[in-house]
Amino acid sequence: MLFGWFRSKDARDRSRLIKKDREHLEARARHFLKSFLKADENGKAQFYRVVEDAVQRCQADAGVGQPSTELEDEQVARATSAEAMKILLALENNEAGSNAAFIIDAYATVAIAYHRAAGIYSEDKPMQELGTAAVHLLTMATSYTRQPPDS
């Protein structure tokens, strides 16, 4: 009975997070990913850099950026996503400049990727697919930014 209560609490928690993600992140992340697909090689490089910067900032601000961290993967993923959401909401309140929407969309994509990695969307196929695409972009960004400059 106790196990059932924990399971339903976990399901309610995931459901609440998905609702919030749909409200604040989904449209922005879809727009960002579609724009990425349409971009040429130079344009794609900008996407890689902005998401990589967003990940670095989220992990540093959430205190999960150190490789020696003792946190479990799910905790790291949840903390990174929560920080991306926090930054996104702050940026939305101060949105200014032509590049602001692009940066905010990048944070939405990062937040969705890390919730996907934390397993939040396992029961929600559309969000799971969106998350998978976001994870793919983030790993491409990591590979891109780790390449030696002359390659």
Binding site: R116, T132, V135, T142, S143
Partner: protein, 64 residues
């Protein structure tokens, strides 16, 4: 064909096996996002590093 995912982070190692290249790529990308060093080997002995994961994805599309 089976795909073995080798991952390491902070002195931890993990080995998991998938029979579908699409699920292998999915798993490996999530691990990579979470800071694991990853590579994949298939049952023919081919090695896929992160730079080859797109090739593994193509394989997944071809077998879908």
């Amino acid at each position: 064909m089976t795909y073995t995912i080798h991952a390491s982070k902070n002195d931890q190692t993990s080995v998991t096996v998938r029979i579908n290249p699409a699920t292998a790529v999915d798993k490996v990308r999530v691990l990579e996002l979470l800071g694991w060093q990853v590579h994949v080997t298939d049952s023919s002995g081919h090695l896929f590093t992160p730079l080859d994961f797109d090739r593994l994805s193509s394989l997944a599309c071809a077998t879908a």
